[in-house]
């Protein structure tokens, strides 16, 4: 009979496409944790009920062994060092992989809208039109700012740089662009590898 502790050997196949990296016992590096949570935040701002979709995907993709429930999902996301209730726990490789799979899958669902928003944004920039004239774009940015401000600790240096609306909008657009690159044929792998740039030997 299988014991609980052996679950790591029976990981969902979908995670096998993402390579392992040697980590210290502190788990995933700081930038990895930060980037993963910010990407999920952008998805939530783009997708109403985003966190419910994340949980639904957990069972669809057979990731329940890693993300057992909503509290665990919150704990994993809260390993982001900028969070108000940042968790004093490491994020393991397997947990990070599960989150990356979720990001890539939700990103794919949102590809059409994402492309449209990015192209519209570019047009508006060219014509120097204010972004608030674009309903979808401005509501994405507004939701992103609200999510970011309610969840990130304003006293942390990494958060202070985003104190103005303009800076947060730039971050939101940057994440939207990156999210597009997570969606392609090899997008998930590309995103995963990029999370460890400058962090491995």
């Amino acid at each position: 009979m299988q014991v609980e502790s052996t679950t790591t050997t029976t990981n969902p196949i979908i995670l096998d496409s993402l390579p392992d990296f040697p980590l210290s016992d502190k788990g995933c590096p700081r930038r990895t944790r930060l980037q993963i949570d910010l990407m999920l935040l952008a998805i939530e701002a783009l997708y109403l009920g985003g966190s419910e979709h994340m949980l639904a995907l957990v069972s669809q993709l057979d990731l329940q062994d890693i993300i057992k429930n909503r509290v665990i999902l919150w704990q994993l996301r809260s390993t982001n060092p900028l969070r108000r209730n940042s968790q004093r726990r490491p994020l393991s490789l397997i947990e990070a992989k599960a989150l990356v799979v979720i990001i890539s899958n939700l990103g794919r669902r949102l590809t059409v809208r994402n492309r449209q928003l990015l192209m519209d944004y570019e047009q508006m920039q060219k014509k120097q039109m204010p972004l608030n004239q674009h309903l979808q774009l401005s509501s994405y940015l507004e939701r992103f700012r609200a999510h970011f401000r309610s969840r990130m600790n304003p006293r942390r240096a990494g958060v202070m740089v985003y104190s103005s609306d303009e800076k947060l909008d730039e971050l939101a657009m940057d994440l939207l662009r990156k999210l597009l690159f997570c969606t392609g044929t090899n997008g998930m792998q590309r995103f995963w590898i990029s999370l460890f740039d400058g962090e491995v030997e």
């Binding site: 502190k26 788990g27 240096a157 202070m160 662009r177 990156k178 044929t185 590309r190 590898i193 491995v200």
Partner: protein, 361 residues
């Protein structure tokens, strides 16, 4: 028979023409394209495609792949710096513009210096167009019937490649002192006499009160001017020692940064300590809270240093920092019981003489 393969995306179309091996099965519905004759990459809005042979195509897929990775991580490797010699180069113009440069001049060819180079082609892509190019390349990689020997090779940029981008001055510093990111910071620390080390027996309650105080001044700091007490003015001799790099003197600012530093280190210090003696560091912080340098005050082995988050938190020179930005220095003590203790460096060195002079009775 010529075989043509197309990978079409809304903004980009990649067309490969080539031949299959002579001994391949003629009834094969999708014969293997094993010899590339020509590669074309069309972009919407650009009438002229970029074209070339095998060398061009190999360079294209490699450079596009590397660029996509640095786009996602914001970190560029040494390889992309070395890409000058590549036929295809990618450059970031701004957050939404990417330049594809194709220099299809043969490397061995003797070039007449008097003629301007007509073989350089340049196409500026938006992020969505860039994505379509990356996707066309990825669809090619996924196609096992076209040049199967070219496959997607992804690996993270190594620390070593990243380190190589740091200023040369820093590499020259002996590694034994510990890592210190900005050469200026290291230089400033070098001139300061090693201070007397106080054991952290007494400061636990006191340090907590020091850590709480910054909250109120930062919240209302803009309105009330800071109350100046004799201890707030820094010791002149130390000041002159520090003058090569501007130091932060505003007490409100020093307290704000102290709170930030505490948050930052405390958050990242997740492993329970196995060391027995407290680890004492001098840490330099920039106005945005970034840790730009640190130096061990007592003797600390690399294995012990692995247990604390300072190496991880050290600002990695991804963007650019102004070399002469003002810094604030703190004494950071990692206690074996897991308690973190942070005091401004000036205050720490002043404390003992100040308390002496304050008790003349």
């Amino acid at each position: 028979m010529t075989i043509e393969r197309q990978y079409s995306l809304p903004n980009c179309k990649l067309i490969l023409q080539g031949l299959s091996e002579a001994n391949s099965n003629p009834n094969d519905k999708r014969p293997l394209l094993s010899l590339l004759m020509n590669a074309e990459c069309h972009f919407v809005g650009h009438p002229q495609p970029v074209t070339g042979g095998r060398d061009f195509f190999e360079s294209l897929v490699q450079q596009v792949s590397l660029y996509a990775q640095s786009f996602l991580s914001g970190i560029s490797s040494l390889e992309s710096v070395e890409s000058q010699r590549e036929i295809v180069q990618m450059q970031r113009l701004d957050e939404n513009k990417h330049r594809l440069v194709v220099n299809d001049q043969k490397t061995g060819e003797v070039q007449d210096a008097s003629t301007p180079n007509p073989s350089i082609q340049q196409i500026d892509l938006s992020t969505v167009q860039l994505f379509d190019l990356v996707e066309a390349v990825d669809q090619f990689f996924a196609d096992s019937r076209t040049l199967p020997e070219l496959s997607l090779q992804l690996r993270p940029v190594s620390k070593r490649t990243l380190k190589a981008e740091k200023p040369v001055t820093q590499k020259a510093l002996p590694a034994a002192i510990g890592i210190s990111s900005l050469a200026v910071a290291a230089l400033a620390l070098f001139f300061v006499p090693i201070p007397e080390v106080r054991r952290p027996e007494e400061p636990v309650p006191q340090s907590q009160s020091q850590l709480e105080t910054p909250e109120s001044p930062t919240a209302s700091g803009s309105d009330d001017p800071p109350i100046t007490t004799p201890t707030d003015t820094p010791e002149p001799s130390l000041e002159s020692n520090l003058s090569p790099v501007g130091s932060i003197n505003d007490p409100v600012e020093i307290e704000r940064l102290q709170a930030l530093l505490f948050e930052e280190i405390n958050r990242e210090w997740v492993t329970s300590p196995t060391f027995i003696d407290p680890l004492i560091y001098r840490v330099s912080v920039a106005p945005d809270g970034a840790i730009v340098g640190y130096k061990a005050v007592n003797e600390i082995t690399p294995a012990t240093e692995d247990q604390i988050p300072l190496p991880e938190l050290l600002y990695k020179p991804v963007g650019s920092r102004t070399p002469d930005e003002p810094l604030a220095d703190y004494q950071v003590i990692f206690n074996p019981d897991g308690i973190l203790d942070i005091t401004p460096w000036n205050k720490k060195t002043q404390d003992s003489p100040a308390s002496d002079s304050m008790s003349p009775e």
